[in-house]
Amino acid sequence: MDLLTWTGALGPILNPLMLAAVAVFLLGLIGNFVLTLAGQQAGEVQINADHTLTINRTPVDYALMAMKYAVLLFLACCLAYIIGGLVQSDPMDQGILGAMGRRFLPVWIALIVLFALSITFKRKLGLYGKLFDSLIGMIGFGLVMFWMFTAIFAGTIITFGPIDVISQMRNEVPGTPLPNPDDGAYLYYLLGGDNLGRDVFSRMVMGAREVLKIAPAATLFAFMVGITLGLPAGYFGGKLDTVLTFIANLVLAFPVILLFYLLVTPEIVDAGIPTYMAAVLFLFPIIFFVVLFNSRYHTQPTKRLAYIAISLVIGFWLYSGLAFNADPLGLISMPGNILIVFVSVVFVNSPTVFRIVRGIVLDIKTRDYVAAGQTRGEGPWYIMLWEILPNARGPLIVDFCLRIGYTTILLGTLGFFGLGVSPESPDWGSTINEGRRLLTIYPHPALPPALALMSLVLGLNLLADGLREESLKD
């Protein structure tokens, strides 16, 4: 069997078009730059005497228009490859791009359903719905959800197991057919094989699952810790604030990489440090929810008791499983090396969240509605959790998105240095690390996870930017 081409049967038609689109885009960019330097301005709308509008098109406008249509043409070609992959059945015709598009079919369906539903009901969905008014936000959300759905459907997308080794496929280029495939097995290594002969495509897809299993949860925990400590620090001030701020600055002054090298080593895990840290850090979510319900239902004893009991039972059940690996039901557990990665990422992130929350509280506590609450005789915790926190949600949501991206980068850094992950783990950081050794000769094993990580973080940053823009419009 022959090597798959990148573009398959559609290639001869679409490749020249794509090249033309790129050329037109570059020409437009240069043209625009030169014209602007030469003092040309973009055309402006003029109101005529008879109440009609005219737009004066200048060469700058035409350059911009050319760039816009070039981008659209390029995107249309990409779409055509994916559709080509879906309708054609022979992998030779699909090409690598088409075949990958076909493997991602569940993701495309889920994305289309999600976007269709969200755009239809966007006026009823609050801030989430408003996101669909901004193009940047929509692109970011699309990228994030693409990787989210990839993580969910990873089991059906992968063509081989992430640690299946076929030794003849070592360092083979993308699109190489298998030498003697088993019945029913996929016939090609779509993105080639790595230095041990594992499928790069499947490892990249499974890597999404590894990353998205930890990053959002770790960020959430960091937020719980930061909020639980930042609210009283900002609200009460005084000695408590001084001490907490000093501790937060202490952690922040630690270079992240040094902290990782000190914390995420087998010796430290042997010494039991991660368990102690987890024991402290994982308490904060429980405290948060107990205080939250306690202050809300202070006047309704039965309700208060019920909510607190529920949060304590669920909280300590998860707590025992996650921190001490001692879940009485045996359902929740976390291996030691994942726990240390999780704990150190939470530890690094929470001081920054603390500072942000503290800053917002210092600003909000001077507002009139807080004074009104104090006059009504509301308790300090009720004011913090039910008056101040909901009003601080805008910046916090934006920072949450940014922070998941930062956490993803941190996880990649850990993987890149081989800290805390098992050597066979398909997470993106470790695959980049493995691929970099032979990078100048075989670039294909390191590039897909690198681009995947970049696109996920870029999506999160764009999403945060869109959310910020839309929440400022309120």
């Binding site: 973009a42 911009l64 940047i136 000093f246 600055n249 202490l250 002054a253 630690f254 270079p255 992240v256 990489i257 040094l258 090298y261 000190l262 914390l263 080593t265 087998p266 010796e267 430290i268 042997d270 010494a271 440090i273 991206g405 980068i409 990649g412 850094t413 890149f416 240095f417 950081g429 980049i432 690390n433 691929g435 970099r436 990078l439 100048t440 000769i441 075989y442 670039p443 390191a446 590039l447 690198a450 681009l451 990580l453 970049m454 973080v457 870029l458 999160l460 940053n461 764009l462 930017d465």
Partner: protein, 361 residues
């Protein structure tokens, strides 16, 4: 003002003490010491032998005392062996027991002995720091001007097309950590099989086989454009976006100020408004951000030096940590913590100096 600096200085010393203690504690945990004993002595030592080895080599005392010794405020340990030979913290081949000083620690400038490289830590770390200094210098020289230009251009007309495209560029650059951009740069520019290098050499436009070199090992002796561009670009790219966004925000805020409007109404040209009126005020906030980039750059330096095989400070840190070279790792931590704290101090003081609206009584 003097009092403010003094107080900041006091807090800094306290922070440094806390941080070094934490590092000392984490590197001197029992499993680490056990591993050290087994690599230095015998891999098949029993627990009792490990304990006696540690005791003989001065790792036996309470942690706080050993921290004091390392810091140089507690007299270094001495010990008389069974054969009457005196060993001690401050005693080595060059300084016999009679001449040895009582204190030898950080405050006396004695950073200890690297067990893996078999050399004084101070000898190792000086040269490595100089190499990293060169890398940092070029990274800053590229990053700061580029970031300021992007930020000012984007912020001078908020919401314009230029602003939107430059903002997207800076978002993209903050989304690309060093280990991603480094890999992409190497593949695009320094690979003999992929990217643009094969094409360029076929056209005869470059002399060698690749446009840039994918390893900075030769840059340790001689920095050239060919071998140093990629590491510098990789470090600069990640930090650039952040500084550019801060500059943009600051510039955009200044451009809405009253005095800018007044200058406009007076008929000052846009170019003069930006260059003479807005720029100086807009650059106060980025100054703090740039100083605070140092700790971030430290992580970047470690990644880039590992990726490009450049044996500077970051590479040393990685080696010390993975080889359980306790004293060398401690020295690296001191340098890292020192850099972070000093840049924080400079940024605080500099902010007060630059911003006339803040007056510390």
């Amino acid at each position: 003002m003097g009092l403010f600096i003094l107080r900041r200085f006091g807090v800094m010393i306290l922070t440094a003490l806390c941080l070094t203690f934490v590092v000392f504690f984490l590197t001197n945990l029992y499993p680490n010491l056990e591993k050290l004993a087994k690599t230095q002595g015998n891999a098949r030592m029993t627990d009792a032998e490990v304990a006696s080895w540690l005791d003989r080599n001065g790792y036996g005392g309470p942690l706080i005392v050993r921290y004091g010794e390392w810091l140089g405020v507690v007299p270094g340990w001495t010990r008389e062996g069974a054969d009457g030979e005196v060993t001690g913290r401050c005693i080595d081949a060059a300084t016999p027991a009679e001449e040895a000083p009582t204190f030898c620690g950080l405050l006396q400038g004695d950073l200890g002995y690297s067990t893996v490289s078999d050399d004084e830590v101070s000898n190792i770390i000086g040269g490595r720091l100089a190499l990293t200094g060169v890398l940092m210098f070029w990274a800053f020289a590229v990053m700061v001007p580029a970031a300021l230009i992007i930020g000012v251009l984007a912020g001078m007309k908020e919401g314009s097309r230029l602003d939107r495209s430059l903002s997207t560029v800076s978002i993209a650059s903050t989304a690309t950590p060093e280990y991603v951009s480094g890999v992409i740069f190497i593949v695009l520019l320094a690979s003999s099989t992929a990217g643009i290098s094969p094409w360029l050499s076929e056209m005869g436009w470059i002399e060698g086989r690749t446009l840039f070199l994918g390893s900075a090992r030769s840059a340790m002796d001689d920095v050239t454009f060919w071998n140093f561009t990629l590491p510098v670009m990789t470090i600069a790219l990640y930090g650039m976006g952040y500084i550019a966004r801060m500059t943009r925000a600051s510039m955009a805020e200044v451009m809405t100020a009253q005095y800018i409007r007044t200058a406009r109404l007076k008929g000052v040209s846009f170019r003069n408004i930006v260059l003479k009126h807005a720029l100086r005020n807009a650059l106060i906030a980025p100054f703090t951000v740039i100083m605070l980039q140092f700790p971030w750059l430290l992580t970047g330096v470690v990644i880039v030096e590992t990726l490009f095989n450049y044996n500077g400070f970051g590479w040393t840190l990685v080696q010390a940590a993975s080889n359980n070279d306790i004293e060398l790792l401690l020295a690296c931590s001191i340098v890292a913590v020192f850099v972070v704290l000093v840049t924080q101090l400079i940024s605080d003081i500099g902010y007060v100096f630059l911003n006339p609206r803040i007056r510390i009584s």
